[in-house]
């Protein structure tokens, strides 16, 4: 997708001068950016740079100490959870799940915000659940108990639950955790397809190669601020790696992908 086309697209979620801190220790310092519908935005940066905190702020789980996170001109933290869940979903970084729950029921939890007290498991719900399970390739696990799953299988089922929620904005916190090589790419492909379908996808990623390969835009964080923002080729430069990660690297482009290897490792 060209940059020109992205810029035409509407803003799904906006951060305006957002700061956040636990006590006196600031985690984020006046961060501003927009998330646009139809793009996959990757947030990368070293450990403790505030990536996950940004995602929590965007999901309205915590309130900024200054500035605001706006969805349709409303602060997200002030929108009732159920209403917000129909617009925005977060795949949190956790592997807590009830052991005796069936996989199909776990994916079905994604439909909660669309349910009524008695109106549950409608054909519409089933369509979304089936579609999400097919996309994450977990249909074969439908009748298994969550306690029997491997970490990777559980993560795919949780992603399916997130997709079943059918929200326009998807926030993914290190979604490739626990996944093997094949499923890492499969998941990121699904995330990409969601963006191409017009949704806004924000993913916190550890792996810069993943980010370069799948993201339309990358935000590189460093110590609570945005160090660089732009296309993968603009952001993932050797100079930036040294400035932010403090390590000299050699960048090797493979098609869309940019692989950074530590200089020392090549000697």
């Amino acid at each position: 997708m060209t940059t020109a086309r992205i810029q035409e697209q509407e803003t799904a979620l906006g951060l305006r001068q957002v700061s956040f801190g636990y006590g006196a220790h600031p985690v984020l310092d006046a961060v501003s950016f927009n998330v646009r519908a139809g793009e996959l935005l990757a947030i990368v940066g070293p450990n403790g740079c505030g990536k996950s905190t940004i995602l929590k702020l965007m999901a309205g789980l915590i309130r900024p100490s200054a500035g605001e996170v706006l969805l349709d001109d409303l602060p997200v933290a002030s929108i009732p959870r159920r209403k917000l869940a129909r617009r925005l979903t977060l795949l949190a970084q956790s592997n807590e799940a009830p052991e005796a729950m069936l996989v199909r029921d776990l994916v079905g939890l994604g439909r909660f915000s669309h349910e009524g007290w008695l109106r549950r498991d409608t054909p519409e719900d089933r369509r979304h659940i089936d579609g999400a399970m097919r996309r994450m390739d977990v249909e074969a696990l439908a009748d298994r108990r969550v306690g029997e799953l491997s970490g990777g299988q559980l993560q795919r089922c949780r992603m399916a639950m997130t997709l079943a929620q059918d929200a326009d904005i998807l926030l993914l916190d290190e979604p490739t955790n626990h996944l093997d090589l094949k499923h890492q790419y499969a998941l990121l492909e699904v995330a990409r397809t969601q963006a191409l379908a017009g949704r806004a996808v924000v993913a916190v990623l550890h792996d810069l190669t993943h980010a370069s390969l799948h993201a339309d835009r990358i935000i590189l964080m460093s110590e609570g601020r945005i160090a660089a923002e732009g296309s993968p080729a603009d952001v993932l430069t050797v100079e930036m790696m040294e400035a932010v990660y403090g390590i000299r690297t050699v960048a090797m482009p493979f098609g869309r992908a940019i692989v950074h290897l530590p200089e020392g490792a090549l000697r």
Binding site: L61, R82, A85, E96, M101, D105, W117, R145, Q165
Partner: protein
């Protein structure tokens, strides 16, 4: 088998147990006498009087206590995401008993009036258990720290109960069987006032069960799926504690059901949606009714305490659960 059919099967089993309960006792009553007593009651027939005034009331009390204690345990286990908690292992029962003895000793309360000191005691015990758990905190979210806190709380309040009783032992003669946890022949009297607590609690638990499903994924994930985790947590505690207390007021401290019925429910029917909550309620009723049948027939014509029968089974079950928790952690 579908969850609904399992629920129906359990209902049939419960009705069967209820029938067993009515025919058995110190003296066996044939079924036709039981049906006659139920539908064509003759107050001058001694058998009829035993069946309706003693067995039927015991049956209802046992069923009620089992139902509310197990639903309370289910709520506590789900909301605290800890399979080792229950009204008894958190010390809620012990706290309630202490405040009931105080209510009797200081203010001469009796019957359903004791619900209020008991509720106060239950809430106090819960807070003490959380506080103690915070002090022994063995790392974030170790299920054992809350259980240790609960055990300390229970010990503390048992000692306090013993102290209050020792101040005026004769006054507590009538309460002896209640203090051990037993179903007596006149226990239905407070139930007449307290059953709405259980009924409302069950209805609210059914309404909350879907939100509790979400909460089992962690507070953050639950929030982004569309529920308010804080609200669900407080509401669950606000339902679970009065439910357990309403049983304690009637039958005293009966452990085991609140701990084990939720586990058996998970094994038999899973843990998603409202059906497991209903299943757990019926299963709890069946367990206490079953225990009451045993208590009345094992050493007939001598009666055993239901509380004693349950405590014996409960100790073993609790040990098994702790061992399996420890083993899972080592794995």
């Amino acid at each position: 088998m579908k969850p609904c059919s399992r629920l129906a099967l359990l209902l049939v089993f419960l009705l069967f147990l209820a029938g067993m309960h009515l025919v058995s006792g110190a003296r066996f009553s044939p079924i036709h006498v039981v049906t006659q007593a139920l539908f064509d009651y003759d107050p001058k027939n001694y058998q009829h009087v035993v069946i309706v005034r003693q067995r039927l009331t015991r049956l209802v009390v046992a069923g009620y206590a089992g139902m509310v204690l197990s639903v309370s345990g289910l709520l506590l286990q789900k909301v605290l995401r800890n399979g080792l908690v229950s009204p008894s292992t958190l010390g809620i029962n012990s706290g309630a008993i202490t405040f009931v003895t105080l209510g009797i000793y200081l203010f001469g309360l009796n019957g359903a009036e004791l619900f209020w000191p008991a509720l106060f005691g239950g809430i106090t015990a819960t807070m003490v258990a959380f506080l103690a758990a915070g002090l022994v905190n063995r790392g974030n979210r170790d299920p054992l720290s809350l259980v240790l806190g609960g055990a300390m709380t229970a010990t503390l309040f048992s000692a306090a109960t013993t102290f209050v009783i020792s101040l005026d032992p004769e006054r507590f003669d009538d309460q002896m069987s209640w203090l051990i946890g037993d179903i007596g022949n006149f226990d239905y009297q407070p139930l007449i006032w307290l059953w709405p607590v259980g009924a409302a609690g069950l209805a609210l638990a059914l309404l909350l069960s879907r939100s509790l499903d979400l909460l089992s994924l962690g507070a953050e994930q639950a929030a982004s799926l569309g529920t308010d985790p804080r609200l669900v947590q407080w509401a669950s505690l606000a339902i679970a504690i009065p439910m357990a207390i309403s049983a304690v007021c009637i039958v005293g401290p009966i452990g085991f059901v609140g701990l084990v019925a939720p586990h058996m429910t998970r094994m038999m029917i899973g843990e998603t949606g409202r059906i497991p909550t209903l299943f757990c309620a019926l299963l709890g009723a069946a367990i206490v009714i079953g225990a009451d049948i045993l208590a009345r027939t094992l050493l007939a014509p001598k009666l055993l305490n239901v509380g004693t029968v349950m405590a014996l089974c409960g100790g073993v079950a609790f040990l098994a659960l702790i061992l399996s928790t420890l083993r899972r952690r080592q794995a």
